[in-house]
Symmetry: none
Subunit: 140 residues, 4 copies
Amino acid sequence: MVNDVKYADIRIGDTASFAKTISEADVYAFAGVSGDFNPIHVDAEFAKGTRFGQRIAHGILTGSLVSTVIGTGLPGKNTVYLSQEMKFLAPVFIGDTLKAEVKVVEKNDEKKILVLDTWVTNQHGRQVLSGQARVMKMEG
Amino acid sequence: MVNDVKYADIRIGDTASFAKTISEADVYAFAGVSGDFNPIHVDAEFAKGTRFGQRIAHGILTGSLVSTVIGTGLPGKNTVYLSQEMKFLAPVFIGDTLKAEVKVVEKNDEKKILVLDTWVTNQHGRQVLSGQARVMKMEG
Amino acid sequence: MVNDVKYADIRIGDTASFAKTISEADVYAFAGVSGDFNPIHVDAEFAKGTRFGQRIAHGILTGSLVSTVIGTGLPGKNTVYLSQEMKFLAPVFIGDTLKAEVKVVEKNDEKKILVLDTWVTNQHGRQVLSGQARVMKMEG
Amino acid sequence: MVNDVKYADIRIGDTASFAKTISEADVYAFAGVSGDFNPIHVDAEFAKGTRFGQRIAHGILTGSLVSTVIGTGLPGKNTVYLSQEMKFLAPVFIGDTLKAEVKVVEKNDEKKILVLDTWVTNQHGRQVLSGQARVMKMEG
């Protein structure tokens, strides 16, 4: 599903979300596309010996779910992504279920630019990512 | 190959890079993992009618190459990703060759935290992404 | 299709083959699984400046088609792969159509071991890989 | 990260390695690229009835990790792969962590050809692949 929310219909405080369980295949596909084969992501033996105790997902993979909310939910079509800040707050393990959320916190009507608070929470309710996005809605 | 650069050996000004041509398969795999099926990425007919004229890569896919430089090049192993800011400066088209680069700009010796300038350039020398990362090097 | 050719039915001189056009997606998936992001495979700008002039497929990707002939054609099911030698004779470019072939050259009846000549040819009739395989056929 | 080790800087005895846990997604992607759908790799019910008791990774998939060490680690960029021999010594199961290693054993200065011993070990320290590679380092 890809929404197409008009700029005029967006209110400060509007929210949208997207949730997905992160599979081993997701982590491996992400490594395969990005080239990031850091052993914490793809070497289970190495990961055992770290503070995390097991392989973790790439932070940017977690961040990509925010892109999904923006690109398919709010505002959806015809959105130009201007910037994204991400703080990685806690590790994401294979099998974790992540919920990415965005909330409109500013509107700049002249340029149709929106500022969105963005965050991702795991199945235990712990925030694993927080940040802010700036997007521009293209219309007519 | 994954480097393991010791914190003590890292100097302000050190750089590393990673380059890759972005294929259609990359964009589709990224859509498949993230769920971001915004038509600008996967609908060539839709894309024709936009300011870009063709499908573009996800901004976060471009950003993932920065993660690759950090996770496999500098500092490589045993790096904890704390934050990443990304400004998306220009569209990335299927077939573009991207070079992601990082440069150490600050060291915080107490916590072994590094601040890195991060940017991505296309084959025409145009910067398509700029930003900054904070990482912590874990060591025995 | 996966054959199950009985050891007793295999004759010296028997052959089998498998053909496929190598897509960019194949090369990128192979990089993504193996971790081999050497720029000759995934960086079109770099590849322009080399003797090859363009990106080439991984040699082992070419070799994997031999595995396909053995594992699905001759002898197919219940074959244990003991060894494979590969000489890489010429570059394989994205879009090339490869035909992998095997030919039985020796039978060791006591252990049900076969020696196979193996080679891969491109659409111009040029051999791009040659070598030899040893396999053991497992049977009830 | 892709190294670019100069021929003159390479010494007999130099080594490099790359490690990765083999996921089900890796085995399936490898089947999808190569076409090798032998049931021992992709049919769990069939595999139960074999000497292995479960699905195993393709031998050439294991071998591809050697290509990664050569193509990204030693010598890295500008390496032409001339040949690879592989003996498959033990089965690799989904979830095994493999470490591929290479060691320079011969240098032919006239043609800048290197001979490398190549082997892959699993998480139990058992060698699953051994062999030898010949590569040529291209330089200005």
